[in-house]
Symmetry: C2
Subunit: 234 residues, 2 copies
C-alpha cells in the first residue's frame, strides 16, 4: 500500500452535545454568596390552559426534590407558558467558577428501587448529537425512574467539590463515588470519582406523567437567577 494522503475539506461537521455543554458551562457566573448571576436553564412550553395544573405539579415536584435547586421560570408568551428549570450544567459551571473541573460523561435513566439506585440506560454526551435526557424523557416516570446525569472529576478535588456543593446548598447531587469506584453501575477512569446529578427536566417529566402535553426545546438558555421564582413563594 503506497502512501498517498489527500485531505478533503468539508464545510459541514456534525457536533456532539458535549461541546455545547462545555460552551454553556462557561457562561455560568452564579455567585454562591450573593445568590445571583447567570445560570443555564432547560426550556419547555405548555399550552396556557394547563397553567394552574402545571404550577401545582411543579410545586409538588420541587417539594419532593425532583428539581435542581428550588427555583424555576414560568413566563407567559402569547398562548403558551414557557417553563425554565435549572439545568445540571449550571452546577458544572459553578464548580468551574471555583476552578473545579467536572467532565460531563453520560445522561441516563436512574432506577430507584427500595432505596437502591442504578443506571439502567445511558448515552454518552461526547458521542451523541442529541441531548440524552430528551431521548429518555418518555422512558421515565419520576417514581421508579428519573433522569440523571453522570460526571467525572479527579480525586484530588473531591473535598473542594463537596465544600462548594455544601455552600451552594441546592438540591442537585444524588451521589458521589469514591475514587476509582463505580457508582450506580457506571465505572470511572483511573483516579477519578463519579458524581451523579439530578436531571433538570425531572419536574417537566411530572407534568408529562400527569397528561400535560409538553414541548421541549433542546437548546439551553442563559438567564439571571434572580428572574426565577421559588416554589415556596407560590
Amino acid at each position: 500500500n503506497e502512501r498517498k494522503i489527500v485531505k478533503k475539506k468539508s464545510n459541514y461537521k456534525i457536533k456532539t452535545i458535549f461541546y455545547k455543554m462545555v460552551n454553556a458551562m462557561s457562561m455560568v457566573d452564579y455567585d454562591i454568596d450573593k445568590h445571583d448571576g447567570k445560570v443555564i436553564v432547560n426550556i419547555c412550553y405548555i399550552d396556557k390552559k394547563y397553567a394552574d395544573d402545571a404550577l401545582d405539579l411543579l410545586k409538588e415536584a420541587y417539594k419532593n426534590n425532583l428539581g435542581i435547586g428550588d427555583k424555576f421560570g414560568f413566563i407567559e408568551e402569547k398562548d403558551k407558558i414557557k417553563i425554565q428549570t435549572l439545568c445540571s450544567i449550571t452546577i458544572d459551571g459553578i464548580l468551574l467558577k471555583h476552578s473545579l473541573p467536572t467532565i460531563p460523561k453520560y445522561g441516563g435513566v436512574l432506577e430507584i428501587k427500595n432505596e437502591k439506585k442504578r443506571f439502567i440506560d445511558i448515552i454518552a454526551y461526547n458521542g451523541s448529537s442529541l441531548d440524552p435526557h430528551i431521548v429518555f424523557f418518555d422512558a421515565v416516570d419520576c417514581e421508579s425512574t428519573i433522569l440523571a446525569g453522570f460526571r467525572e472529576f479527579h480525586r484530588i478535588i473531591k473535598d473542594d467539590i463537596e465544600e462548594v456543593l455544601d455552600r451552594l446548598n441546592w438540591n442537585c447531587v444524588i451521589g458521589i463515588g469514591e475514587p476509582n469506584n463505580e457508582i450506580f453501575g457506571i465505572n470511572v477512569e483511573k483516579d477519578m470519582c463519579g458524581i451523579v446529578y439530578n436531571g433538570g427536566l425531572n419536574p417537566i417529566v411530572l407534568l408529562k406523567e400527569n397528561e400535560i402535553p409538553v414541548e421541549i426545546k433542546q437548546m439551553h438558555e442563559v438567564v439571571d437567577y434572580s428572574k426565577l421564582i421559588s416554589y415556596k413563594e407560590i
Copy 2:
C-alpha cells in the same frame, strides 16, 4: 490529599451496545461463495392483518435498495408476523471472517438532499445502552432521511475490504471515505477510513411511514441465510 484507595465491588455494571455488537459480529459465518451461513437479523413484529400490505411494502423497499441484501424473513407466529431484516453487523461479521476488522462507531440519521448526503444526528455505540437506530426510528422517513451506520477501518485494508464487498455484492454500503478524510460530516481517527452502511431497519421504517404499527425488538437474532426469502421470489 492522602492516598487511600479502596475498591468497592459491584454486581451490576451497565453495558453499552458496542459490546453486544462485537459479540453478535463473531457469530456470523456466512460464506460468500456458498451463499449460506449464519447471519444477524433485526426483528420486528406486526399484526397479522397487515401481512399483505407489509409484503408489498417490503418488496418495494428492497427494490428501491432500502434494505441490506435482497432477502428477509417473514414468519407467522400466532396472531403476529415476525419480520427479520439483515442487520449491518452481518457485514462486519463477514469482513471479520476474512480477517478484516471494522470498528462500529455511530448509528445515525443520514440526510439525502439532491444527491448530497450528510449525518444530521448520531449516537456513539460505545457510549449508549440503546441501539441508536431504535432511538432514531421515528425520526426518519426513508425519503429525505434514512438510518445509517458508521464504521472505521485502517487504510491498510481498504482494498481488501472493497474486494470482499464486491464479491459479496449485496446492497449495503452507502459510501467509503478516503484515509484521514471525513465522510458525510463525520471525522475519522488518524490513518483510518470511514465506511457508511445502510441501516438494516430501513425497510421497517417504510412500514411505519405507511401507518403499519411495528413493534421493534432491540435484541438481534442469529439465523441461517437460507431461511430468508428474496423479494424477487414474492
